[in-house]
Symmetry: C2
Subunit: 212 residues, 2 copies
C-alpha cells in the first residue's frame, strides 16, 4: 500500500488549501468564506460554493447568537451529532425534538410529516435561535408557515434539506422570502446533515484548523 | 407559499420514482439496487450510482451478517446516528470508538489520526462485522493496514470517507484489493456519514418504504 498522510494538521492544511485553490470564494466576506469552506470540506464538492444563497448578515447574526447562548434547533439527530461541542462558544444547547413521544400524534393531527410536527415543539426556543435543517424539506416548509403565522423569529435559518421532493423548493422559498430572518441555504437537491452541522460549526468558530 | 407534499408515503414514493427515472441502475442486482437508491436518496445526487464500486457478494454478505447479529463498527458518531435502529434485524450493536478515552494517546503512539487509532479498538469485534466508514480516509487506510497484518476480516466494508486528502485514494485501494472482504465504496472525493448510514440501512432492510 502506498504511504498516506497521517498527520491531522497536515491533512487539514492540505484539504483547505485544495478548497481555496479550486472553489470560487470571491463573493464571500470572511465569515461566509469560512462557512463555505467548511461546507465544501464536509461534502467533498467545491462547486457547492456556487449554489450557496445567503443574507448579508447571516454569518454575523448566527455567530453573535451562539456567543449570546442561543440554542441550536436541529431537524434530526444526525445534525446534532455533527455539531462539535467543544467549538460552541457558550455551552449552547443542541435540541432535537424529532423523537419526542408526542410527535407522531401531532403529525397526524396537523396532516404533515413527523419532521414538520417536531418543528412545532421548538416554539418556546425559537426566538433568536440558530435553526439547522439538514434532512426534511417539510421541516423547513413548516417553519416558514409558522413564521407566517407570527411565530418568534430565529436569528438565522440554516437551510440544507436534501432530496427529490421539496428540498429545492423549500430552499428557494427561504431564499426568496426569509421572513425577516437571516439565512444560508444550498440551492437545489443537495444538502444533508453533514453540511448542516458544518454550517453550525462554522458559525461557532470559523476555520480554526487552518490557523494551526 | 405554494402547497407542498406533506404525506410521508407520497414523499417516499415520488422520491424513489424520481431516482429510478434518472439514475442508471441497470448494472445492479436487487440488493445493490436498493442500496444505490438509498445512497442517492441520502445525498440528492443520482449520478453517484455511476461511481459505486462493489464486490459481487457485498449486499448478500452484509445482509446475512446483520441477520446473524453482527455489530456495526462506525468511524464517527454521525454514522451511528443515521442508522435506523428499528430496521436492524437482530438488535445489532452500533459501535463508535472514536471518543474512547484511550484514543488520543494511542493516536500519538501510532503516529496517526484519532480516527485511525479508534479502528484499532475494533479488534475484538472485527470478525464478521459490518464496517461503515463515513468520515475519515485514515480510518479506512488503517483498517486495510490492520487486515494486511492479519486482523480478523469483517463481513463487509462500506467505504465512504469524504474529502480532499486520502478519500479517493483510500477507496481506490479498497476497490483494488479488499483483502478478501466484501466491500462497497463511492469512488472519488464524495462520501460522508449520511451516505454510510444509508448503506447500512440498505443492508438491513433494502427499500421497504417503496413497497408501502
Amino acid at each position: 500500500m502506498r504511504p498516506y498522510e497521517k498527520d491531522p494538521g497536515a491533512i487539514y492544511a492540505q484539504s483547505f488549501a485544495t478548497v481555496r485553490k479550486e472553489a470560487r470564494l470571491e463573493r464571500f466576506g470572511p465569515g461566509m468564506e469560512a462557512l463555505a469552506i467548511r461546507l465544501i470540506h464536509a461534502c467533498g464538492m467545491v462547486e457547492v460554493a456556487d449554489r450557496l444563497a445567503f443574507s448579508t448578515e447571516a454569518y454575523v447574526a448566527g455567530h453573535a447568537a451562539l456567543k449570546a447562548g442561543a440554542p441550536i434547533l436541529c431537524d434530526c439527530e444526525m445534525v446534532g451529532a455533527g455539531i462539535i461541542r467543544r467549538y460552541l462558544p457558550n455551552n449552547n444547547r443542541v435540541i432535537v425534538t424529532l423523537n419526542d413521544a408526542t410527535v407522531p400524534e401531532r403529525a397526524k393531527s396537523i396532516g404533515n410529516t413527523r419532521s414538520a410536527a417536531a418543528v412545532e415543539l421548538w416554539a418556546d426556543q425559537l426566538e433568536g435561535a440558530v435553526v439547522a435543517i439538514g434532512n426534511a424539506p417539510t421541516a423547513l416548509f413548516h417553519l416558514l408557515e409558522l413564521l407566517d403565522s407570527g411565530a418568534p423569529k430565529p436569528a438565522v435559518i440554516l437551510g440544507f434539506p436534501v432530496g427529490f421532493v421539496g428540498a429545492a423548493e423549500s430552499k428557494a422559498e427561504l431564499a426568496t422570502n426569509s421572513r425577516g430572518c437571516e439565512f444560508v441555504a444550498l440551492r437545489g437537491r443537495r444538502g444533508g446533515s453533514a453540511i448542516a452541522s458544518a454550517a453550525v460549526n462554522a458559525l461557532a468558530v470559523g476555520l480554526p484548523e487552518e490557523a494551526q
